[in-house]
């Protein structure tokens, strides 16, 4: 039994909210208490535990997902707000690719950007969002664009390299 399977009497309002949305290209439907964050709904309702929980207050970026094309801290969004939205999580990013790994994820491995790995799904999602909005970022733009994602192993140089590497790969048609 998981945290959200049973309705809590302490929930604000006793009603569950039914949410239908698109997650990683597929329709998804779930029912949550109104105060449940999208981060927890992804992790516990949908079992998509690649989205990580660290600070749970929008500072660390470990829970970053892409919603309707925008990078979002899923801990700061209520699950109920996901109604009708198109959500991409780390599990969806390379799902269609060989080995389940997209070019950006490949670059993270190649550049040595992965240490303990806990922040990495969030870093990858933030980098994907950055590259979609700025396909050829400078180092300064990468540092600025990624500054909402903490890495205590401090693999920052390697992550910058991975983003640069991906930009170069994508520039070649």
């Amino acid at each position: 039994m998981t945290a959200s399977d049973v309705q809590s009497p302490d929930d604000i309002g006793s009603d569950q909210v039914n949410v239908t949305c698109t997650v990683n290209g597929k329709p998804a439907a779930f029912s949550v208490p109104p105060h449940r964050t999208l981060m927890d709904a992804l992790r516990y309702q949908l079992g998509l535990t690649g989205t990580k929980t660290c600070c749970a207050e929008g500072e660390c970026g470990a829970c970053t997902v892409i919603i309707d094309g925008a990078g979002v801290n899923s801990c700061l969004m209520l699950a109920a707000e996901a109604e009708g939205r198109d959500i991409v999580t780390i599990e969806g990013l390379g799902a269609e690719k060989p080995r389940g790994i997209c070019d950006l994820q490949e670059s993270f491995l190649e550049a040595g950007a992965v240490q303990c790995g806990f922040c990495i799904p969030g870093q990858v999602m933030a980098a994907e969002y950055l590259l979609r909005t700025n396909p050829d970022p400078s180092v300064e733009e990468i540092r600025e664009g990624m500054s909402g994602n903490l890495c205590r192993c401090a693999g920052y140089q390697r992550i910058v390299a991975a983003v640069q590497m991906t930009a170069q790969k994508r520039a070649i048609p």
Partner: protein, 820 residues
């Protein structure tokens, strides 16, 4: 057991520090294009093979010495890696903790009746519900109660645990628990804790009667002394005397972690916890709940960052009792805030007095180091003992005295943290070297060149002398070269350089099994926790090299005390050396077994056979090991199993329990620009050079050195835990406690590894994962002082602190300073 007996016990246990091993080198990924020389050098590092080695005759290798991708990397980039909080347990109940809003209090009443009636609640447990007396545990002193026993001694100490069907229900019920308490006066900093008549954190009646410090907050002391400081002081031409402080900082692992305890059908317990020391946890749980070791199985999912904070048991004993009491799997996932209340680095104040001759030679060095530890001992006494052991620095000092104390306070119990007490004292000694140099008209490089020991020369004297185990001057010179020492500086800029050492593990036992399977694939069982340092990648590389198995056919199994042989711990950057040698030995064992069975199967005289990495050498030439093993195994098939053990005994009487297996030596140099209007620092260039022996995986070495450098900058520039008058942590959480982000990385960050293949690990390697933060503070302080013409003696160097220093009388950009 008395406290004294416990201490003896501990000395024999050999506790060491922080984990994270690997190896090291150079890198400048700054966005500026590499020039061709740099590019060549980098390409060489990333592809290079082993140049010589202890284990295997020094054959160049496509695997060892190459930047092999991280083992387990695919799962980490796809989100499939299962960390503790990602694991699912059928029928698990959720646990939550009740704590008090103060640090120090006597508990007068706990009323759980309302909470127990709440929906979904399975159990509400306080100390009264535990075996009596309440079990206590700890690595050096068995002082930490499973739940608060009549009092709380620090902010966040758990008083009551609530177990319910869901987390919502557990949290709702927790709010209905009524704890009545009387707040007591606590001590939250060194001044308070050492004041005469200060409230005592530990009741003197719990301490041995002959403990001379029992009526104080001093828990343990260390004294290292050689020569005669007072006599030597007369011979010094220049004496500098200053006090330096290093604040409390917290580990801030991005994975907060947690524990799940699962009762087994046979009356035992499975414990899931992302710890660095699964075997220590197994032993602790077995002892606390009274089960045989074989009935306690610890699963240690990869820690999502640990840095020393996930070494020693904390809440696991509580979860074990909850699981036994409820008969349910009990799950507790921590918040980041809770990690602040569970782990931190000891703050430190160092009073230093140092004498030099006119030509800059050290005459004497006198240090009084007070480490502010927390409310329970954890491994903090060892941090004090081992950190202060190297307080005088890697220098040629004829006379030295270091007196250190571990001082208890009503704060989060301090524990191992990357560097293990060395960064705090290096901050003081390195600043003193600069202070002396300024008075003598020398620069920071010259004073270090003058005093740094040569290979084989003692930096710690006396019956247990310690000598330099590497050519440390090479690192100093390389860092000076890479930072551009002596070149003109732009306005408002300063340059600093510093060195430091840390003793590696002093003893230990690592065991490994390797299975060489019928198809040539191989499995290593190695108990090192892989928390980001990439230990498993190294084992994979060693197997590939020694057995000739392709990298992608090597598996590594760790994190399960039920099937993986014993490993003392993942700490003190020991694993490359200790477990590395065990894995290497297991591979050699396999080759010898193949040889013996091949001789038996073929009738070839064993004396005519020999083995080498990946091959059996027969009179007809080299044969791939796989082919030889097939011949040897014959029709029955099967596999070869090799065993390896790395055992290092301590040394009786040694102040650290034994000589360090190796030293981590690092030299860091920094060029900084100071904004004189705001006090902000802009780091233009940061150079970190470590003496690493051999880089087994250059990319992982780079990652460790860059990571440690940036973590060191966090400690030096922005991090500090603040507590209020009630001992409550004021900056509890990511909003208020800053760690470095992408934007805090120096404009240019270069790391370099000096390789002389002179380490005790496989192929001449040394442990290296802590080196790059040992003297970061010293180098930054040196650079800032150079820029503003004023010394800085307190960390962190926030804009406010720099600005305040600047606005004291006498600040002159690039000007001199009056040390007294």
């Amino acid at each position: 057991m008395t406290d004294k007996e416990k201490r003896t016990d501990v000395a024999q246990q050999t506790i060491d520090d922080v984990a994270l091993q690997t190896i090291d080198d150079e890198r400048a990924m700054t966005g500026a294009p590499l020039d061709s020389e740099q590019a060549d050098a980098l390409a060489g590092r990333l592809q290079g093979g082993v140049k010589q080695g202890h284990g295997s005759g020094g054959a160049a290798s496509a695997t060892v010495g190459a930047s092999i991708r991280r083992y387990g990397g695919d799962d980490r980039v796809t989100g499939h890696q299962k960390f503790l909080s990602d694991l699912r347990f059928t029928g698990a109940a959720e646990a939550t903790l009740v704590t008090l809003p103060v640090a120090c209090a006597t508990i007068t009443k706990i009323d759980t009746s309302r909470a127990a009636e709440m929906p979904g609640v399975i159990a509400v447990v306080s100390a009264a519900d535990l075996p009596q007396p309440v079990p206590r545990f700890g690595i050096s002193h068995q002082d930490r109660p499973v739940l608060a026993d009549g009092e709380v001694l620090y902010h966040g100490e758990p008083v009551v645990a609530v177990v319910a069907e869901t987390l919502d229900q557990a949290e709702s019920a927790a709010r209905e628990v009524e704890v009545t308490f009387d707040e007591r006066s606590g001590v939250f900093d060194l001044e308070q804790a050492l004041e005469s008549g200060a409230p005592l954190v530990r009741d003197p009646s719990l301490r041995p009667a002959d403990d001379e410090n029992r009526d104080s907050n001093v828990l343990e002391t260390a004294l290292y002394e050689w020569g005669d400081n007072s006599a030597a002081a007369d011979g010094a031409d220049v004496v500098v005397e200053n006090t330096y402080t290093f604040p409390m900082v917290t580990h801030f692992p991005i994975e907060p972690g947690g524990t799940v305890a699962v009762p087994t059908d046979s009356g035992g317990l499975d414990i899931y916890s992302p710890v660095q020391h699964p075997y220590l946890l197994q032993r602790t749980i077995a002892k606390v709940v009274g089960l045989p070791l074989a009935q306690v199985r610890v699963f240690a999912p990869d820690p999502g960052g640990a840095f020393g904070g996930k070494q020693n048991p904390k809440l696991e004993p509580l979860l074990a009792f909850l699981a036994l009491r409820t008969g349910r799997a009990c799950r507790l996932v921590l918040s980041l805030e809770q990690t602040f209340q569970m782990m931190r680095r000891a703050a430190c104040r160092v009073k230093a007095r140092t004498g030099f001759t006119t030509d800059g030679a050290l005459v004497f060095h006198d240090l009084e180091c007070d480490y502010l530890i927390g409310a329970y001992a954890d491994v903090a006494p060892r941090v004090m003992t081992k950190g202060s052991y190297v307080a005088a620095g890697p220098y040629r000092i004829p006379n030295a005295r270091t007196a250190a104390r571990a001082v208890m306070s009503n704060t989060t119990p301090s524990t191992a943290f990357r560097g293990f007490g060395s960064p705090q004292v290096a901050w003081a000694t390195e600043s003193q070297m600069d202070a002396g140099a300024r008075q003598l008209g020398l620069d920071a490089l010259q004073v270090r060149q003058r005093n740094l020991v040569n290979e084989g020369e003692a930096f710690f004297r006396g019956p247990y002398e310690a000598t330099a185990d590497g050519q440390w001057h090479q690192s100093l010179e390389k860092a000076a070269e890479l930072i551009g020492w002596g070149q003109p500086l732009a306005p408002n800029r300063g340059r600093g350089i510093a060195v430091a050492i840390k003793p590696g593990a002093t003893s230990g036992l690592s065991q490994s099994l390797v299975r060489f399977l019928a198809d040539g694939s191989a499995i290593a069982y190695a108990g090192t926790s892989d928390m980001g340092q990439g230990a498993r990648t190294l084992w994979q590389q060693i197997l590939a090299h020694e057995l000739g198995t392709p990298l992608d056919k090597v598996r590594v199994i760790s994190g399960d005390t039920g099937i993986v042989p014993f490993d003392l711990q993942t700490s003190a950057s020991r694993s490359t050396v200790f477990m590395g040698n065990a894995v290497l030995e297991a591979c050699l064992d396999i080759r010898q077994r193949v040889l013996a069975l091949y001789a038996e199967a073929t009738g070839v005289d064993a004396a005519a056979l020999s083995e080498a990495p990946g091959v059996l050498v027969t009179p007809d030439g080299e044969m791939p090991l796989l082919e030889a093993s097939r011949v040897a195994l014959g029709a029955l098939g099967g596999e070869f199993v090799g065993q390896g053990t790395a055992r290092r005994q301590g040394r009786k009487g040694h102040p650290l329990g034994g000589d360090a297996a190796f030293y981590e030596f690092n030299c860091t140099a920094i060029e900084v620009e100071v904004d004189f209007e705001t006090g902000e620092l802009l780091l233009h260039k940061h150079v970190s050079v470590s003496d690493v022996g051999t880089e087994l995986n250059p990319l992982q070495v780079i990652s460790q050195d860059e990571g440690a450098s940036i973590m060191g900058l966090g400690h030096s520039q922005m991090e500090q835990l603040l507590v209020d008058d009630h001992g409550v942590i004021r900056n509890l959480g990511a909003l208020d406690y800053r760690i470095p982000t992408f934007k805090d990385v120096p404009v240019e960050l270069i790391t370099h590894g000096v390789e002389n293949h002179d380490g005790p690990g496989p192929y001449g390697s040394k442990g290296m994962s802590e080196g790059a933060l040992l003297c970061t503070s010293g180098a930054l302080g040196s650079a800032v002082s150079d820029a503003i013409g004023m010394p800085v003696r307190d960390l962190p160097l926030t804009p406010e602190r720099v600005w305040t220093t600047l606005n004291q009388a006498g600040a002159q950009p690039g000007g001199g300073e009056a040390d007294t």
